[in-house]
């Protein structure tokens, strides 16, 4: 049921987001200006100077697009190796009260690539695999670093647009340090303490053992001495009764990681169930703030764009296009989940309660649909409900959001630079339609700019569809499936979309912890991140070089409703044309099978 409380929360959400855009945007302007002054200078300026000294860095020296990109790539490579080493050696490192062993090499590679690329795809279950040190240092490092990297790239691109006849785009190291120190760290400190107040844990003790109030028995597969399950003559697994008298309750330094995972649009859960876990997302209030925090920085970056290019209305038009796509998505997803699963209604389920499989009672239908839409509009990928168990159309929205390139507010930085690629394409297409040389904010858009923009878009398509097709016809792909029929194809398609789009959410039934899937998914993540960033940086470098053409009567206005509609149209057409055939075989056909027949898989 799409009830009034849902509408109130949705209105409040979009209203608060709009109100926060300018103040946070103003703060971003100061953070991304190396000489910018903030109220935190008193405390942080000495630390900033110390870091520059430790790095041997001259903060006033700017870099060209190639230098900036090389620094970014070397930093990411170093971070990847850092985390890979920690995961492989976690049994030798401190803060491992549960005594977890090292990760396998393919899983460690997958995880290190995943966190370096801001994806946070998780082939492992956090509380059953990772030590506190691996979580707090190995993974949290990238939650900060990859977020700052994304914002740095967005800033470099905006500088490229705003500057004229310039050779440089800023200094990567300065952007990296300033974003972490002045933006992410102080916000997270307050945010994490708020999460603790709501019930999120932050401790270093071993897992607790509770004596159950009422013991009960469960059926579990009988295992022989070697740990393999025993089968009877007919091939059925033999089950034995096990009496449960205690419950092991996982603990750890969770809140500090949960805060940055949302704010930095990383999404990697401390616990396997991510933000569905009561320790990670304890109350509906914490949930609302977590969803808002995903969009906070991406939304503010549109204001930063408008401010830096001297056309605030352009920034708001980009914001408006994003808001439109967001609202359309959330309403479809909410509606589909509220209607629920007709098969279950037929069995005698209360029709008003909607599709509650994989959802938490405290969040209900609306907050699960809102979270799913926002986490995939952005490249966050945290989940507070299991997308795999959504209705076909409810699950189509997250999948399509990722495939559109996560440009609806998007990941921190990544959303803005992704959307600006679409802006360039929109300007180009409109220019073709009216027969004029395309211009964007006084810069002529020429063959080189269009080529690198198209390249960025194409790389995503090739990686998503190529890997998904390969997986769908290979034994190693099929072997991981939890569902069969069209839903099985959706699981594979979602996995490679999520990896390439650096989202990290999953149709989590897919058992991806196998060498083939771990490796191909890791490659998709690296391709989706860095082969997108490189063309973006090339575009930034090329735009910076150009002269500004003063506005004339033939200039195409990039503010106003016409441009908003054209931009939304470009995003949808590129996305729809590319992915519609694959989606038709997955969620779309599943929807018609579910509503039009009794066929099950």
């Amino acid at each position: 049921m799409m009830d009034i409380y849902g509408w109130i929360q949705l209105a409040l959400f979009i209203g608060l987001l709009a109100l926060l855009t300018k103040p946070v945007g103003l703060y971003l302007v100061r953070v991304l200006d190396p000489t910018g002054k903030t109220f935190l200078d008193v405390i942080l300026k000495p630390l900033e100077r110390f870091i520059y000294r430790a790095l041997g860095l001259d903060p006033e020296k700017e870099q060209g697009w190639k230098g900036y990109t090389v620094s970014l790539l070397l930093f990411s490579l170093m971070g990847l190796l850092f985390t890979f080493a920690i995961l492989r050696l976690q049994h030798l490192l401190p803060l491992n009260p549960q005594g977890f062993g090292p990760m396998s090499s393919d899983l460690a590679f997958n995880t290190a690539a995943s966190f370096t690329t801001n994806t946070n795809w998780q082939s492992y279950g956090g509380e059953s695999t990772l030590s506190y040190f691996s979580q707090m240092v190995g993974l949290t490092f990238h939650n900060f670093a990859s977020a700052a990297t994304g914002i740095a790239v967005a800033a470099a691109l905006v500088r490229g647009i705003a500057r004229q006849t310039a050779k440089t785009l800023g200094n990567f190291w300065v952007d990296l340090v300033r974003v972490n120190l002045y933006l992410l760290l102080p916000l997270c400190l307050i945010y994490a303490v708020f999460l603790v107040s709501q019930g999120a844990i932050q401790n270093f003790k071993a897992y607790d053992t509770a004596s159950l109030v009422e013991s009960y028995t469960v059926q579990e597969p009988k295992q022989d001495a070697t740990g393999t399950s025993v089968k009877d003559q007919t091939g059925k697994t033999v089950m034995v009764e096990k009496k449960m008298e205690t419950q092991t309750i996982a603990q750890g330094p969770l809140a500090s990681q949960a805060a940055i995972k949302m704010l930095g649009t990383n999404g990697g859960g401390f616990m396997n169930a991510n933000a569905a876990h009561p320790y990670e997302n304890p109350t509906p209030l914490a949930n609302f703030i977590q969803i808002l925090s995903i969009f906070l920085i991406p939304s503010a970056l549109t204001w930063y764009l408008g401010h830096q290019v001297g056309n605030q209305r352009h920034g708001w038009v980009v914001w408006g296009a994003m808001a439109f796509l967001f609202l359309a998505g959330v309403m479809v997803c909410w509606w589909a989940e509220a209607v629920g699963n007709p098969h279950l209604t037929a069995l005698g389920l209360d029709q008003l309660s909607g599709n509650m499989e994989g959802k938490e009672v405290r969040f209900g239908i609306f907050n699960s649909a809102l979270f799913a839409t926002v986490t995939t509009d952005a490249s966050c990928g945290a989940v507070n409900a299991m997308h795999d168990s959504f209705t076909p159309l409810g699950g189509l929205i997250p999948l399509l959001n990722i495939q559109l390139g996560e440009v609806v507010f998007g990941g921190v930085g990544a959303g803005l630079y992704g959307m600006l690629i679409f802006v360039v394409l929109t300007v180009f297409l409109s220019g073709l339609m009216i027969g004029r040389t395309p211009e964007y904010l006084g810069k002529k858009i020429e063959a080189y700019d269009v080529k690198v923009s198209v390249l960025a878009v194409l790389i995503l398509c090739v990686s998503i569809l190529g890997f998904a097709a390969w997986g769908a016809v290979s034994a190693w792909g099929i072997a991981g499936l939890n569902n069969t029929g069209p839903h099985g194809l959706s699981e594979i398609l979602y996995a490679y979309s999520s990896a390439t789009g650096n989202n990290g959410s999953a149709f989590a039934g897919l058992n991806a912890n196998t060498p083939w899937l771990n490796t191909t998914l890791a490659l998709a993540m690296l391709i989706g991140r860095f082969f997108f960033i490189i063309p973006v940086m090339a575009l930034a470098g090329n735009l910076a070089k150009k002269k500004l053409v003063p506005p004339h009567t033939g200039s195409f206005p990039v503010s106003g409703l016409t441009f908003l509609i054209l931009l939304v149209g470009t995003v949808l057409i590129v996305g729809a044309l590319t992915f519609l055939p694959a989606l038709a075989l997955g969620p779309i056909v599943e929807h018609f099978i579910m509503t039009g027949s009794g066929r099950l898989f």
């Binding site: 109130i8 929360q9 870091i51 860095l57 230098g67 070397l74 930093f75 490579l77 170093m78 971070g79 279950g125 707090m136 670093a145 190291w173 972490n180 997270c188 994490a192 603790v196 107040s197 019930g199 999120a200 844990i201 897992y207 509770a210 004596s211 159950l212 109030v213 009960y216 469960v218 419950q247 092991t248 309750i249 996982a250 330094p253 809140a255 169930a273 876990h277 009561p278 320790y279 304890p282 098969h343 005698g348 389920l349 209360d350 309660s353 509650m356 499989e357 938490e360 405290r362 907050n367 507070n384 299991m386 795999d388 959504f390 569902n483 069209p486 839903h487 039934g509 099950l600 898989f601």
Partner: protein, 195 residues
């Protein structure tokens, strides 16, 4: 770029990883830990419930009550069920045979246990597994349907039990966020304490 420049950049990459790790992965989580333990020690340590010197669970983590004298939580797909070191959902899709079969069975059991007619619509949360497998709550409707069974076994009046449900019903946060819900473990402990 010359080789020496690459080496300089590489050194900066290494130094920045180390310096940032010390601040962001050392000082920051420790600060949250210090503040959390000082201001909200109960929450920071897992909202655990102690009874007669023993930890009997956490208010935020479901336990697998099955007896007629207790309110039952939602079905769980975490490990073998309610395994708080192995959280997760069933991840079964809407056209999964396994999903439909298990819900069918759970509906039959729920109606039987709570003495409902075969046509009575069952609240979805009672027969579907939660996302975490540890959902500590059930819907108010679900709790009220279970109340007569619990009241009968415990020889309590419906009215007293209804009051106890109300005590453990959490409304929408700030009157608007999320859904109203009943905390199962807290409610069951209250029932035991009144015995």
């Amino acid at each position: 770029m010359k080789t020496s420049e690459y080496l300089k950049e590489l050194r900066m990459a290494l130094a920045s990883v180390i310096v940032l790790a010390v601040i962001l992965c050392g000082a920051y989580p420790l600060a949250v830990w210090g503040i959390g333990q000082a201001l909200f020690p109960n929450q920071a340590n897992g909202t655990l419930i102690q009874l007669r010197g023993k930890t009997v669970g956490s208010s935020l983590i479901a336990q697998g009550f099955k007896g007629a004298a207790y309110f039952h939580p939602r079905p769980s797909a975490a490990g073998q069920g309610y395994d708080s070191s192995n959280s997760g959902g069933s991840n079964l899709g809407p056209t999964s045979q396994k999903l439909i079969d298990s819900v069918k069975e759970r509906i039959a059991v729920y109606r039987l246990e709570n003495n409902l007619t075969p046509e009575f619509p069952v609240p979805a949360d009672a027969v579907t597994s939660s996302g975490s497998g540890l959902d500590p709550h059930i819907s108010v409707q679900n709790a009220r349907l279970q109340a007569p069974r619990v009241a009968k076994v415990r020889n309590m009046s419906q009215e007293t039990l209804r009051q106890k449900i109300d005590i453990h019903t959490e409304g929408r946060d700030l009157g608007m966020f999320g859904e109203p819900r009943v905390n199962v473990l807290n409610l069951n402990l209250e029932l035991d304490s009144g015995r």
